[in-house]
């Protein structure tokens, strides 16, 4: 067995070293591009998913959302719940929010939606909305007659109002809000934010103090957002919250966004899967053609090798080794090219409507791609060489 491999390596080495350098360069380049393609598109999809996840955590739900139990409209004893949660190590902050239906009116435009309240100080620790103000200022705890608007709700001045915007409200303008309980109040627009997270950019925020005054409530909330220091340990904290005796409905950001991100990612996953299959088929075809042409051209040599007593499997293995050489060289070259491409794209991310997109290369994807490419190369090297090497000696030599 060992001597067979020694001969196989010897034949493969001499064939690559003394064969056509152009063929080697072309094949390795094609293999490297196939390897890049196997990794690049899925890493872009992962990048889209990651961008969406960051958006959801930073602007929409933070890490964990506590909601009222089924059939309840509000969470009670909010201060006590917040105190318990904030006492846990690793909890960065909590923000209790009220949410109620409202209609916004500005000049002749009116838009239906939900108005939310925040405690501006608490909210800073939980979301990053305050960092995305494009105009005006953030709310203060004591503000009662002021409102923050998302850019999609405010609309763009000079542009014809769309169904869901107010047609170009600016900071300092006054809008009228009709609450679900019938209360009507006029607010001065204090700031306009643009997070690029579309559900957030169509929202409006007033202070907790103001909302409690309008709704006549105290120490209650429609939801409590919780920020933790370590993303990925949400489930662990959910259990801890339950152990603390919090009986409300506790959801992670993944639970809350499963529908939206899940649908986007599963749609992209199908595209990625098809692209992966095409890449692997391309790899098989390229190596198959190269080894097939190689073996057909060397049919007579294969016959001579068999005639002088070289084991058929030593001959077959020499072609498989050549195929694997092309494969490994392609992977190494592809990895270098990919490294530079990913580094460039990380330094210069693509701007998508939802935010900046940086490719995310997962270790599992790299391992999976390497294994797939090796398997494809092995099969593509084995089949044509096996077919040629098992031919009758005389037929191989004299046709």
């Amino acid at each position: 067995m060992l001597k067979n491999f020694k001969v196989s390596f010897f034949l493969a080495h001499k064939s690559i070293r003394r064969g056509s350098i152009g063929t080697v360069i072309l094949t390795v380049t094609i293999m490297s591009l196939i390897f890049m393609n196997l990794i690049f598109l899925p890493s872009i999809v992962s990048g889209i998913g990651e961008t969406m996840n960051i958006m959801i955590i930073d602007y929409t739900y933070s890490n964990i959302v506590i909601e009222p139990k089924e059939d309840n409209l509000y969470i009670n004893n909010v201060a006590s719940i917040k105190k318990k949660i904030n006492s846990l190590p690793g909890v960065v902050g909590t923000s209790a929010r009220y949410m109620t239906g409202a209609t916004y009116t500005y000049k002749d435009n009116f838009v239906g939606g939900a108005v939310r309240s925040i405690n501006p100080v608490d909210e800073v620790a939980v979301t990053k909305i305050q960092t995305e103000l494009i105009e005006g200022e953030y709310l203060s705890e004591a503000d009662t007659d002021e409102i923050l608007l998302g850019i999609d709700l405010a609309g763009t001045e000079g542009k014809e109002a769309e169904e869901a915007d107010l047609g170009g409200v600016r900071v300092g303008d006054k809008i009228k809000v009709t609450f679900s309980n019938g209360a009507i109040k006029e607010y001065r627009v204090k700031g306009i934010f643009k997070t690029k997270a579309f559900t957030v950019d169509s929202a409006a925020f007033i202070t907790e103090k103001e909302m409690e005054s309008v709704l006549g409530l105290d120490n209650k909330a429609s939801e409590i957002l919780v920020k933790i220091s370590r993303r990925g340990s949400e489930e662990e904290y959910r259990k801890k919250f339950m152990e603390l005796g919090i009986s409300e409905d506790i959801k992670t950001w993944k639970d809350k966004s499963a529908g939206l991100v899940g649908n986007v990612i599963s749609s992209f996953s199908l595209i990625t899967f098809i692209s992966t299959i095409i890449s692997l088929v391309m790899a098989v075809v390229v190596i198959f053609i190269i080894i097939y042409i190689n073996t057909v051209n060397k049919r007579r040599q294969i016959g001579i090798l068999k005639a002088i007593g070289i084991d058929q499997w030593a001959i077959i293995h020499s072609y498989v080794i050549q195929a694997l050489f092309y494969c490994f060289s392609g992977i190494i070259l592809g990895a270098f090219l990919l490294y530079f491409l990913i580094s460039y794209m990380t330094a210069n991310p693509i701007t998508f409507p939802m935010g900046e997109l940086k490719p995310v290369v997962e270790q599992q994807l790299i391992i999976q791609s390497i294994i797939s490419l090796i398997a494809a190369s092995f099969i593509a090297g084995l089949i044509p060489s096996w077919k040629t090497a098992r031919e009758n000696i005389l037929k191989s030599i004299w046709g």
Binding site: L2, K3, I304, K306, G309, I310, N392, I393, L394
Partner: protein, 222 residues
């Protein structure tokens, strides 16, 4: 050394059966230089392929050193060819990507010999055939006669029981042919090498001990 008993070979080409050998029997003694001659299509190459274990006859028996060679499996035949037989084909059948010395030591490498041993014996044999100064040349850098001498060196490097040569001079000029035949004769007389050679040139027979003439798949005369 070789006993050939009533060998027949029939090729089936579609619906047509072509009987290339119709029952051939003869013996070859150890150390004998046997020439097989005959017109094209007489069956001489087919005969050599059968006794060289490159093909399997339709009927008959072949004994090499008392061993019933046709009872061997394909893998055993490959090993037998590697260890006991040497071949020189028409048109310098050496590997173009290997140098002269690499072509010669490849079978020894397959046998699992130690590198220093097979390298030395390959260099020695190439020097014997007059290619001591062409060891590391690729086939494309060698003349036809030199390439055929590399093939002969490869065939005899493991001291085979029998050396089979299928028209070894067919692509060579008369001077190169003479050198090859003299090399065969030297191997035969000095090393007692058994040789079975096909040729169609009448003047080649003077190098051999005996000639078998083939005609229409049968031995015409011995």
């Amino acid at each position: 050394m070789i006993e050939v008993k009533n060998i027949e070979k029939t090729y089936i080409m579609g619906k047509v059966k072509v009987q290339a050998l119709k029952g051939v029997s003869f013996d070859v003694k150890k150390g004998e230089f046997l020439a097989i001659m005959g017109a094209s299509g007489s069956g001489k190459s087919t005969l050599l392929h059968q006794i060289g274990l490159l093909d399997t006859p339709t009927a008959g028996r072949i004994f090499i050193d008392k061993l019933n060679a046709l009872k061997l499996s394909e893998r055993e035949k490959t090993l037998f060819r590697l260890n006991h037989l040497g071949y020189v084909f028409q048109e310098y059948a050496i590997l173009p990507e290997l140098t002269a010395v690499e072509n010669v030591y490849l079978p020894a490498m397959m046998r699992g010999e130690r590198k220093e041993l097979y390298l030395k014996s390959s260099i020695d044999i190439l020097e014997t055939v007059g290619l001591g100064n062409r060891l590391h040349h690729l086939p494309r850098e060698l003349s036809g006669g030199e390439q055929q001498r590399v093939a002969i060196a490869r065939a005899i490097v493991n001291k085979p029981k029998i050396l089979f040569a299928d028209e070894p001079c067919v692509s060579l000029d008369s001077e190169s042919s003479k050198q090859i035949l003299e090399l065969f004769k030297t191997l035969n007389t000095e090393l007692n090498q058994t040789i079975v050679m096909i040729t169609h040139e009448d003047w080649h027979k003077e190098y051999s001990d005996r000639v078998i003439y083939m005609k229409d798949g049968l031995i015409e005369k011995m």
